[in-house]
Amino acid sequence: MTTETAEVVVSTEPPFESFGTRVWENLKGGNLGSLPVVVGLTIIVIVFSLTAQNFFTAVNFNNIITQMAGTTMLAYGVVFVLLLGEIDLSIAYLSGIAGLVAAELQQPDSGHFLPGIWPIVFALAAAVAIGAFQGSFVAIIGVPAFVVTLAGLLAWQGVIQVGIGAGGPIIIQNRWINYTESYFFSNGAGWLIAGLLSVAYVGGTAASVINQRRHGVTIRYPYFVAAKAVAIPATAFLAVAICNHDRGVPLAGLEIIAFLLFWTFVARRTTFGRHVYAVGGNAEAARRAGISVPRIRILVFMISGLMAGVGGILLAANVRSVAPSQGGGTLLLDAISAAVIGGTSLFGGRGTVRSAVLGAAVISTISNGLFIFAFQPGVIFITTGCILLFAVTLDTLARRRQAKTGR
């Protein structure tokens, strides 16, 4: 138990606290945030760049982005499910279902041909509906999510196999689907994108600063805000410069960023996002505060379904076909590992949307680098497994630390 030694006055203006102090306080309090994964990713990149011949190239930069896109989409959904303290094991085969629906509907002579973007729309709708279906078992009846989605894992795998049948892989010719993974912007368009993103970011920061000032709320860490307003546009232009050195900015990369921004907004800036954190932190407290816990749970499983669907489209586009094994392999574990390695807690209530990107980047970079070294897949699995164990251990230690400093 701690006793209050000094009384520090709380005024409407919070006391000054430097950014460094906050980081240190967070570390002491067991709130590691994105720090370990950013450090880890940097080390991985440096090691591979120094040792592997063709690693640190523009071509490989684009390769990693397109390879990680599908997993990242699934991981976005995983973040929300983990924030609730639940799990969704069905997402990988659910992504296969979305791929299958899209592939079926774009078959020209199948009798149920749909043109243009419609196969994607229907595939995503199916994935959301399945997410809602599974989520209602969890939220309304109270069946553990592990079991519901384990049943989903088995059943949807079966549906994919039955659905494709003996005919072999369904080839995808729909350009809308294939472009999600294989379209590259021209150099000019790439610069334009970097410019627009930068303007939007700096403009958004300025608007929020002005809003805070207007309400008499002090800006915490003004130097940090300013540094970010410089660093993020700089990073955007640097990334575009690298991409343009190769085929240009991949659409897949833009999709990663678009969903990152959207889901970060939902998680941090809306009442729904706030309620997701609340339910994950203390469901009973959330219920007593008047939050409809079942509603939040179902919506989160719908998000999980939607993002599995989006990832499924990208993964199908990656190979331009849907095979009976779609959604199999290590996809499920990669997606969950990505969120956890990125720093989202398995115990609910703590985590960020960006952890999905960071974790997926770690996993994809490792598998990409080891692949260049011509290691067997086995070595890649062993490495990823070790990193996952390390990440979860870190999270568990952080939690214990937090329980100690609290009260």
Binding site: M1, T2, T3, E4, E7, V8, V9, V10, S11, T12, E13, P14, P15, E17, E25, G29, N31, N211, Q212, R214, H215, G216, V217, R220, R269, T270, T271, F272, R274, H275, Y277, A278, G280, G281, N282, E284, A285, A286, R288, A289, G290, I291, G349, R350, Q402, A403, T405, G406, R407
Partner: protein, 261 residues
């Protein structure tokens, strides 16, 4: 002042659960600007009585008057609507959220697009804490998990008073706290009354009760066993009422000893 209409008047409240008579003809008055303590041994009916007030249980019979008018509290929402807030013993805060987020939990300020109005919430939280002189919290943006027990209790109480509430019910607010933190919370309880709120304090700790309460209502075996003014009584007198008090109000048949557990 004591002679004005009480904010809340309970008249002849009776409640039974099956064959167990939890409350029998209980009267309870709560005044604005006063701390009304509700004391009694385990099973005396304290919890049942506050649950009747908070709308969790409906009374079998009896009258509830709020601001002099008869009301029917048939659910927690009715109670909140009247301006009655309960701070539960186990707090009901989300450890992973910060102070501002907890203060506004479930009632976030937002615009039509459901976007949170953080500056508004932050400013009002700071103002509320300042008005209650809750001064030991270093940053209202720190997670509740990092707060001490007393600070957490203060946040829970501040949350209850922020919503234009008229009556705040505190269920054993100092049960899990050390000496210094108990003082901190008792100071806060006094301040609520000073601000004109009516406070119901439930506690086992007579020291706490005598430190802050204006009026002490004793329940024993589900019946009134005495109402004392703090300044005109002693701890011994109250202890006697809790452990061996005779029903102060007899309606109809005289009670037989030890009917209920």
């Amino acid at each position: 002042m004591p002679d004005e209409t009480p904010l809340l008047e309970l008249r002849d409240i009776t409640k039974s659960f099956g064959s167990v008579q939890a409350l029998t003809d209980v009267d309870f008055d709560v005044h604005r600007g006063e701390v009304s303590a509700l004391v009694g041994d385990n099973g005396a009916g304290k919890s049942t009585l506050i649950k009747v007030i908070a709308g969790i249980h409906a009374a079998d019979s009896g009258q509830i008057l709020f601001e002099g008018e008869e009301v029917h509290i048939s659910g927690p929402k009715d109670a909140v609507h009247l301006g009655i807030e309960v701070v539960y013993q186990d707090l009901a805060l989300c450890d992973n959220l910060d102070v501002v987020q907890n203060m506004y939990l479930g009632r976030e300020a937002h615009d039509v697009l459901q976007r949170l109005k953080e500056p508004v919430m932050e400013r009002r939280t700071a103002e509320t804490l300042k008005s209650l002189r809750v001064t030991t919290i270093r940053s209202i943006r720190q997670a509740v998990a990092t707060l001490s027990g007393g600070q957490r209790q203060s946040v829970a109480v501040a949350r209850a008073v922020m919503w234009n509430s008229k009556l705040v019910i505190l269920d054993e607010p100092t049960a899990a706290l050390g000496v210094a933190q108990t003082e901190q919370v008792l100071e806060l309880v006094k301040r609520l009354a000073e601000q004109g709120l009516a406070v119901i304090l439930i506690s086992h700790n007579l020291h706490d009760i005598f430190a802050v309460a204006d009026r002490i209502t004793v329940l024993r075996l589900g019946r009134n066993a005495g109402i004392f003014e703090r300044t005109k009584t002693t701890q011994n007198e109250v202890v006697h009422a809790i452990t061996a008090g005779q029903p102060t109000k007899v309606s109809g048949v005289a009670p037989s000893e030890g009917v209920t557990a």
